[in-house]
Amino acid sequence: MPATLEANQDLNHLQIAGVTKTYESVRALSNVSLVVKRGEIFCLLGPSGCGKSTLLNVIGGLITPDSGSIELGGRDITAIPMQKRNVGFVFQNYALFVHMTVRDNIAFGMEVRRRSSAEISRQVEALLNLTRLHGKEERYPRQLSGGEQQRVAIARALATEPEILLLDEPFSNLDAKLRVELRSEMHRVQRESGVTTIVVTHDQEEAFALGDRIGLLDAGSLVQVGTPEELYARPQTEFAARFVGESNLFSGQTESRGGTMGIVCEGHFIPIPGKAGGVDERETLLVRPERVSISAERSASDPVFAGTVREVTYRGVGWRYAVDTAIGRLLVVDPTARSRRADVGGAVYLNWKVDDSFVLPSTAEVRM
């Protein structure tokens, strides 16, 4: 049994501090600091070109950062080359050894380490079981489907029992259905092996499905780290609110009317929840589309806005409406309804509970 202190240190498996990387003129990473816990799946999420791959490559030792440090399992690995880091890296295109069988691909790392052939066979067997590749061990990569190739890449990376598993967009070369299947497959493999894992993705849904925690990157900066629930319910910036899920955002100066705090947006007063902040500050309010209810009759409680339906989309799970109101176009998602509540051109009232809306904390910071 490890001492409590040790266990605590152990909890922070990977620690990145102040990592910066600049390519000629592009600042790919600026002062990124991050802690990944032992045994978790951490998703690096962000739009194309935000620096996800660069950060993953820095962790794997494939790219040397300009400054900052990386600590893995209590060891400073900043200056250690990729050959000696003991990381498992899964490339976006898998980068399998096309001239070797599945078995030889998986065995490669162990052969480098001169493990005994009995041990190699045993480990390959275990990994074939884990990744459900039994019966395929004598095939060459080109004789495998995309999904199978991806599993070989994962098995190959896990074979050396790496400290950490790094995957760069592992599902991007697969079709939508297979993607969802392999996602849960990967989740199972990770839970069974218990390896600390970092997955890069630009797909929010993927990050939510896989990640114990998510790190959101924007233009080389880590803007927010949290569980999927935290990211969705309490985004810290406008970027986070827009990138993660759909959102309705309103900005305005705060005012107090009849004892209620709110912001004034397009000349209309919108109440904001809790937090007795100062008057006449600029704030941004977030209301998620599924928190807005839509109906033909005006409801009793504020806030209520009248509007005209511009778009109706059937989503399978309910409908999605785009509604023009005095405070702008709002998105409404109505997942529980059995039938549509309004048609295009119809007059409707939108309403939400004040407590279901959320004031972005760092609006001021972002604006300045």
């Binding site: 794997g60 295109n93 096309v98 001239h99 990376a157 050396t160």
Partner: protein
């Protein structure tokens, strides 16, 4: 309509290339004492003659040895140069790439005369050392091209993957890069062999009596006499070339590679 014209054109071009060879082979199959096309009587007489003519047999064996040496040397140089130029691209590596292609443009005569003077200055014996060096110089661009092409076909991530698995540079070269380069390198070797086996101009300048290649032998012989023996020896050269290409194509897919086939598809040979 256009399709048919194209077809006719292709066949004409093919015929143009094959015709001289066909004539030589036909002439060599005569049983008569002099060259006549087509021969009146057929026979393998001149082939037997060629195999009993000591100087021809000697020249043939020397040609094969020299071509084999050229193939090995050029392949090793081609592979290592390609690796240096692509993997460790340095200042001026583009310039060097262009520079080593120069023998493609220069008349072999110029190269031969240059080499002769160089060898004289350095005190190098012209044959076989100088001859092989000269051949390597003219076949090198072809071999390098094939190696560069093969290397460009290797995904750099594949080598990186091997590094992240703990492999050293040498290990990655041995287990990953080299096997993936096998088909372009072997194709290059076969090309080098054939080009060297065929090379005449440089060989004329660098040959010494007793260490003469077959084409030089044929050249000298044809200057003095013109009997079907020359045709028979030439036919043997054609047959050697065909056999070499057939072997290479079976094992490496040379034709596929030369006509722009995918390198990645050819790696079956490693197993």
């Amino acid at each position: 309509m256009r399709f048919n014209l194209l077809r006719v054109y292709s066949w004409l071009m093919a015929a143009l290339i094959v015709m001289p060879i066909a004539v030589v082979v036909t002439v060599s199959l005569t049983a008569e004492g002099s060259v006549r096309f087509p021969p009146q009587h057929w026979g393998l007489r001149w082939f037997l003659e060629a195999f009993t003519e000591r100087s021809f047999v000697q020249a043939f064996l020397f040609s094969v040895e020299a071509a084999a040496a050229v193939a090995v040397i050029a392949s090793v140089l081609g592979l290592t140069s390609a690796l240096a130029l692509v993997r460790y691209s340095f200042r001026g590596s583009k310039f060097i790439q262009g520079f080593v292609m120069a023998p493609l443009l220069l008349p072999h005569l110029v190269i031969a005369i240059g080499l002769l003077q160089l060898f004289a200055a350095l005190g190098i014996t012209t044959s076989p050392g100088g001859l092989i060096a000269g051949h390597v110089a003219v076949v090198f661009p072809f071999v390098l091209r094939l190696s560069l092409g093969g290397l460009a076909g290797i995904d750099p991530n594949v080598e990186k993957a091997a590094y992240t698995l703990g492999a050293t540079r040498l290990y990655v070269f041995r287990r990953v890069t080299l096997p993936l380069m096998a088909s372009p390198v072997l194709s290059g070797a076969v090309m080098a062999f054939l080009l060297s086996f065929d090379e005449t101009v440089i060989s004329i300048f660098t040959s010494v009596p007793g260490r003469t290649t077959l084409p030089v032998m044929i050249f000298n012989y044809a200057e003095q006499r013109s009997d079907p023996l020359i045709a028979a020896v030439s036919s043997i050269m054609v047959i050697v070339a065909i056999i070499a290409i057939a072997i290479a194509d079976r094992s490496v897919g040379l034709l596929n590679l030369l006509s722009g086939g995918q390198v990645g598809e050819l790696n079956e040979l490693n197993h």
